[in-house]
């Protein structure tokens, strides 16, 4: 996914000379093609995330479309206030890209586990979260962001490289991207991010009772628009590779809780169990024990 991201960014940068890439001294074997082709639009801000985000804000205030690349919690929690004040409040076209969502860097330990980033970013009113499930959703998200530069957070899986067949060429914030559909069902799976295998396993157990949609682009701005579609279902199961607190499932819960209706919708959140905090192991190992199921 990360290499595909850079390939797409390089292609776009050939067409748009305002694209700039800043890295936080990370991206070995990933960011080099951009650096090689656009040395004047590539900057390594060093291990200085607060400065990096401020610089990105300054560049974007001057007309550049800035992509900031780093991993795990470094471009989010470390520089949370810079994102809040400098980028989100000023509504600047900066996309923060973080690789290693969920337990992608499992062996590297808690410092590198991306478990709470949704909770931080989704509290920002102007920032769009892009959490693609596969390469197609990554392509659609970037296509949208190139056309609509805005404060945004692109959350990438470290090693996943799958492409689910899809007829959709364009996706929009808040839109549900169909994964599988059944006739006359009132049961729904909603997922975001790298949750393909978890959803598949769940569906296997439940046979063919559920419609499954992924929401690759979401955030505060498209929250209220979700209710109408949700209310078509009686049972909803959410999936995410993030802890429950402040996550995607909680976002759906909030949508349902603020809409007063007589209709009862049964909701179940599937998420990474926070008991994983402090545990070390490969992504597979940790997911088996603590992943969404």
């Amino acid at each position: 996914m990360r290499n595909l991201f850079i390939d797409i960014l390089v292609k776009e940068a050939r067409l748009n000379e305002k694209i700039v890439l800043i890295v936080g001294d990370l991206g070995f074997n990933v960011v080099e093609p951009f650096k090689k082709e656009f040395p004047n639009r590539f900057f390594n801000a060093g291990v200085s995330e607060q400065s990096m985000i401020g610089i990105a804000a300054g560049l974007s205030m001057s007309g550049f479309k800035v992509f900031v690349y780093s991993i795990a919690n470094f471009p989010t929690f470390r520089c949370a206030e810079q994102i809040r004040n400098d980028i989100d409040f000023h509504n600047l076209p900066v996309t923060i890209v973080s690789v290693g969502s969920g337990l992608g860097y499992g062996n590297l330990g808690y410092t590198h586990h991306g478990l709470q980033d949704y909770s931080l970013i989704r509290s920002l009113p102007n920032t769009l979260i892009c959490s693609p499930l596969d390469n197609n959703e990554l392509k659609s998200s970037l296509k949208y962001l190139f056309k609509n530069p805005q404060p945004s957070y692109l959350r990438l899986d470290k090693s996943l490289n799958i492409e689910i067949k899809s007829d959709k060429k364009n996706l929009y914030p808040g839109e549900w991207n169909l994964m599988s559909k059944q006739k006359n069902t009132k049961k729904l799976i909603l997922s975001t991010g790298s949750t393909y295998n978890d959803c598949k396993k769940f569906l296997k157990k439940k046979e063919l009772q559920f419609n499954w949609y992924s929401i690759p682009m979401w955030g505060m701005k498209v929250k209220t628009s979700q209710y109408k579609k949700l209310s078509m279902y009686n049972e909803i199961v959410t999936f995410e590779n993030h802890i429950q607190d402040g996550g995607f499932g909680s976002w759906i819960n909030e949508v349902l809780s603020v809409n007063k209706t007589k209709k009862k919708i049964f909701v179940q959140n599937k998420f990474i169990n926070s008991k994983v905090i402090g545990k070390v192991g490969s992504e597979n190992y940790l997911n088996k024990l603590y992943g969404p199921k």
Binding site: G54, A57, G58, L59, Q82
Partner: protein, 257 residues
């Protein structure tokens, strides 16, 4: 310079009146930067529209708002809403106010953003300088020192960093909080050219701002917190205290002399 002296005095009077009406804090921080920002705006911003100014010490925004009123960006009616419910003039610099580029208030944000603006000018070979005004207490923030590494590495010599060195921060004197000395050496060691000036002497301010260095420029402006109103000068108290009716009268009498 005579005109600039008069404008500075007028701005000080307005700061005093508005701070009194709004019962707002940070009067001394605002008085401290008046001469610096009047010089920056009148001699550099007005004359070259490609220059950009960022007030990183956003809590001194009242000085900036009063200056923007003098320049016609803000109407008196708007200026008088300072500190009132529903005003656009938040009590820290706001980009929603005409003539203000960046909302600040949390310290340590202005320098990294200014570095980004200066870098953008370098990428596209655009003229114009970026002036950024920081407080001395603000230098406690690590983000400034992160940025200085970047500024020096990319030799952003279109960036002018001005330090309002009034030696008092929020709760106490700088020297009793976290010592900054040797400040000049610190900036020099980061690869900057450093000038030390009297931050209330318009000739010195103008000369230093005009300096065309081939390295990033830092101006350490020695200032007096509360400058212009003797009972407020160099007192920690006036970081937060708004003037009462009697103090307003005394202050205006002194400024009218």
């Amino acid at each position: 310079m005579k005109n600039i002296d008069q404008i500075s005095k007028k701005i000080r009077k307005n700061i005093l009146k508005i701070s009194h009406a709004a019962k707002s804090a940070h009067i001394a921080s605002s008085l401290s930067i008046v001469d610096l920002i009047v010089n920056i705006y009148f001699n550099f911003m007005q004359k070259n529209k490609r220059n950009i100014f960022i007030l990183s010490k956003g809590h001194a925004c009242l000085a900036q708002y009063c200056l923007l009123y003098e320049l016609g960006y803000i109407k008196k009616k708007t200026l008088d809403t300072f500190g009132k419910n529903g005003t656009i003039l938040m009590s820290h610099s706001s980009h929603k106010v005409p003539g203000v580029n960046l909302s600040t208030g949390s310290l340590g944000h202005g320098l990294p953003v200014s570095a980004g603006i200066a870098l953008s000018k370098k990428i596209i070979n655009k003229n114009g300088k970026v002036f950024v005004l920081l407080s001395d207490g603000e230098l406690n923030e690590g983000s400034n020192w992160e940025s200085l590494l970047f500024i020096s590495h990319h030799n952003l010599n279109n960036l002018v960093i001005i330090i309002d060195y009034n030696k008092i921060q929020s709760l106490d004197f700088v020297n009793k909080t976290l010592k900054l000395q040797p400040l000049k050496k610190k900036f020099t060691s980061f690869g900057c050219k450093v000038l030390e000036i009297d931050g209330h002497n318009h000739k010195e301010i103008f000369k230093s701002l005009k300096n065309s260095s081939n390295r990033p420029l830092v101006i350490i402006a020695n200032t007096i917190k509360g400058k212009g109103i003797s009972f407020m000068e160099n007192k920690v108290l006036w970081h937060y205290k708004p003037p009462n009716d009697h103090e307003l009268k005394l202050g205006l009498e002194e400024l009218n002399k």
